[in-house]
């Protein structure tokens, strides 16, 4: 038995208010399980943003299309790691694939994930970049040449017919991809929303709330990345593109806020057995992370800032800065949304008579450092992806006109 863990449980027991079932001293889903929906949300959101450009022909978003795809890919690689790491027996995780229990929402994770990664993201990116990969291979030598040859699966055909086929394939996969992205994250919401034992989680709205917060987080992340990468590359930001991103972010935030409010009002109005303990939870343990960070700083603040920047005659330079700041606050807000759902949902007793506590450790398998590492990892992967598959228009071959 791990003495540090026992000491932690003892400390948690000291902070209990009211009555909890004796087995509830331990909080079971830690910060790693917060990171999991945060990351899958970013994946789904970034992908949906990319689809806007492809399927709905929002041409203004073209500069971010490929960046959004690679962002989704970088994050999707990391998505299963926190899940795996929090298991008591990570080495048995493959049992989920071998003998899944069909009635378990969690058992479907592997399949949803594999479908999304293999069939949707990888295929779409492959077709999108195929022509470039062929040309990059021609232009490079040595190991790099071999790499592009392998990754393009040896394809060489860049005739107009082949390229047209690529475009058609990308279009078709995107159409398949939109419901898949909805599935990926809506499903994560279902994992929580279907737990009837937990009144804080149990809600049919949960998958939809998750989905829209995912869209919000994806758009804001791509906005941040586009802003930073463009400045780092000393290129000029495309104002039209930024405006479009900010506008989509604004509308998605409004839908997100409306859904959350609906959920809140619904609970308040129905006023079920659990309402008292949930109110106590929100006004004590979750007040800062929910009322202040998630709602005020993460939603209302950015909404006002975006509205101000979008609908007043602000000079472009200030506008861009306002978009950027709003997007950063949205990210913080979304992270606390995930925190409030996952951790908040475990801070009250199922006897509805008391509250427990969660103390985040610094080190250890489920500590803050591991969490930070997992949050940084996708950016490292993204950096490598951006080096290998530069998504910028100017990196594309000059022999053909650039278009989405």
């Amino acid at each position: 038995m791990n003495p540090a863990h026992q000491a932690q449980l003892e400390a948690a027991l000291q902070q209990v208010t009211g009555f909890i079932y004796p087995n509830e001293a331990e909080l079971h889903w830690s910060i790693l399980v917060v990171i999991y929906p945060y990351i899958t949300g970013l994946v789904a959101g970034a992908f949906i943003l990319a689809s806007l450009e492809k399927v709905f022909k929002v041409k203004d978003l073209q500069p971010t299309y490929r960046l959004a795809l690679l962002t989704a890919l970088a994050f999707v690689f990391v998505a299963p790691i926190p899940l795996q790491a929090h298991l008591g027996h990570p080495e048995r995780a493959f049992e989920i694939f071998l003998t899944p229990n069909p009635s378990s929402a969690m058992a479907m994770f592997g399949f949803v994930y594999a479908w999304y990664l293999m069939v949707v993201l990888l295929l779409e990116i492959w077709f999108e970049f195929r022509e470039d990969m062929v040309r990059w291979r021609q232009q490079s030598r040595g190991l790099k040449k071999l790499f592009y040859w392998l990754i393009s699966l040896g394809s060489r055909d860049v005739s107009p017919g082949a390229v047209a086929f690529d475009h058609k394939a990308v279009y078709a996969i995107t159409i398949l991809g939109i419901p898949s992205a909805f599935l990926l994250h809506g499903y994560v919401g279902f994992i929580f929303g279907s737990v009837k034992a937990n009144p804080f989680w149990s809600s049919v709205l949960m998958p939809i709330v998750f989905l829209f917060s995912a869209i919000v987080s994806g758009i804001s992340l791509v906005l941040i990345l586009y802003y930073i990468t463009t400045l780092l590359r000393r290129k000029t930001l495309d104002q039209k593109c930024l405006n479009a991103l900010a506008a989509f972010l604004f509308y998605a935030l409004i839908i997100d806020l409306s859904l959350e409010s609906l959920d809140f009002i619904h609970r308040l109005y129905e006023s079920e057995e659990s309402i008292e303990i949930l109110a106590e939870l929100i006004f004590s343990k979750l007040f800062i992370s929910l009322a202040i960070v998630q709602i005020l700083l993460g939603t209302i603040g950015p909404l006002l800032l975006l509205a101000f920047a979008l609908f007043t005659g602000l000079p472009n330079e200030l506008k861009r800065l306002a978009f950027f700041i709003a997007a950063i606050f949205v990210q913080v807000g979304i992270f606390s949304t995930r925190w409030n759902v996952v951790i908040g949902g475990q801070l009250f007793s199922k006897s509805f008579r008391g509250l427990t506590a969660y103390k985040l450790e610094l080190g250890g398998q489920e500590g803050l450092l591991t969490a930070l590492g997992l949050l940084i990892l996708p950016f490292i992967i993204l950096y490598v992806l951006l080096k290998l598959f530069p998504p910028w228009d100017d990196a594309r071959t000059d022999t053909k006109p650039t278009e989405g």
Binding site: M1, Q6, L9, Y21, G88, E95, I96, T99, A107, V195
Partner: protein
């Protein structure tokens, strides 16, 4: 008792059909077959427990017996069974406690306020007929046995803890030694041998009654016929198989 009956029946059949006996030949195989009929048949049972609230004195012996019998970690965060004390004051306030699961009994009530009523509620896994823990387990490590007992396969559990989240009763914990889910098994190793669960056996007031749900002439069924029976959180539709007599509405 059903086991001896089967065995007797089998032997009687052998007498009735001497040819079969002859065919079987030597007595060795007969013995083997006879004892095979003695094996535990899960499908012939449907276990449940009755708890008589008015009989429980909160001594906590069941909690202790359970921990010892089932090698449950002694630390105060892991319980297969525990006892809660409810104190309902005249002003309507309800106070509940379960210090260390009630394993050492309960301290005297400190408050000066007037008390309306107090009582103890022993709790454990309800071996739900419709168990959410089984529904959510991604690998099927948690399962319902044919005799109605909900069990965890330690060699299979991946320690994802989804079942702990899904149980509305706080009946599960993660065993810190095996990193797998732990819970009450109705002392499966005992009941399959025809013994009673440890908590039932040790209870000095016989507040706990264990038995077959589908057989009429058992103490459990007598209790269920003669008392006002409730289950915990009936609205969850888990169909618990731990039945309480005269359970107070305050108990959750």
């Amino acid at each position: 008792m059903s086991k001896t009956y089967e065995r007797r029946e089998f032997l009687a059949d052998l007498v009735k059909f001497p040819c079969a006996t002859l065919l079987l030949g030597v007595s060795g195989p007969i013995k083997a077959l006879a004892s095979a009929g003695n094996e535990y048949q899960a499908s012939e049972h449907n276990y449940a427990m009755g708890v008589q609230i008015e009989k429980c004195i909160g001594c906590g012996k069941c909690v202790e017996a359970c921990k010892i019998e089932n090698d449950v970690p002694m630390e105060p965060y892991y319980f297969r069974t525990w006892v809660e004390r409810y104190i309902i004051y005249t002003d309507g306030e309800v106070s509940v406690d379960s210090p260390n699961g009630g394993i050492n009994g309960f301290p005297p009530v400190e408050s000066d306020k007037d008390i309306l009523r107090t009582f103890f509620v022993p709790k454990l896994c309800n071996h739900c007929e419709n168990p959410p823990c089984v529904q959510v387990c991604p690998v099927g490590a948690t399962f319902k046995s044919q005799d109605g007992v909900v069990l965890v396969d330690d060699d299979y559990c991946i320690g994802c803890r989804y079942c702990i989240q899904a149980c509305p009763y706080g009946a599960r914990f993660l065993d810190p030694r095996t990193h797998t889910a732990g819970k009450c098994t109705f002392c499966y190793h005992r009941i399959t041998e025809g013994l009673l669960p440890a908590c039932v056996e040790i209870c000095p007031t016989q507040a706990r009654i264990f038995g077959e749900l589908d057989k009429l002439s058992t103490p459990l069924n007598r209790m269920m016929r003669q008392s006002n029976i409730q289950v915990l959180k009936a609205h969850m539709n888990t169909e618990p198989k731990v039945f309480y007599s005269d359970l107070d509405g305050e108990v959750r």
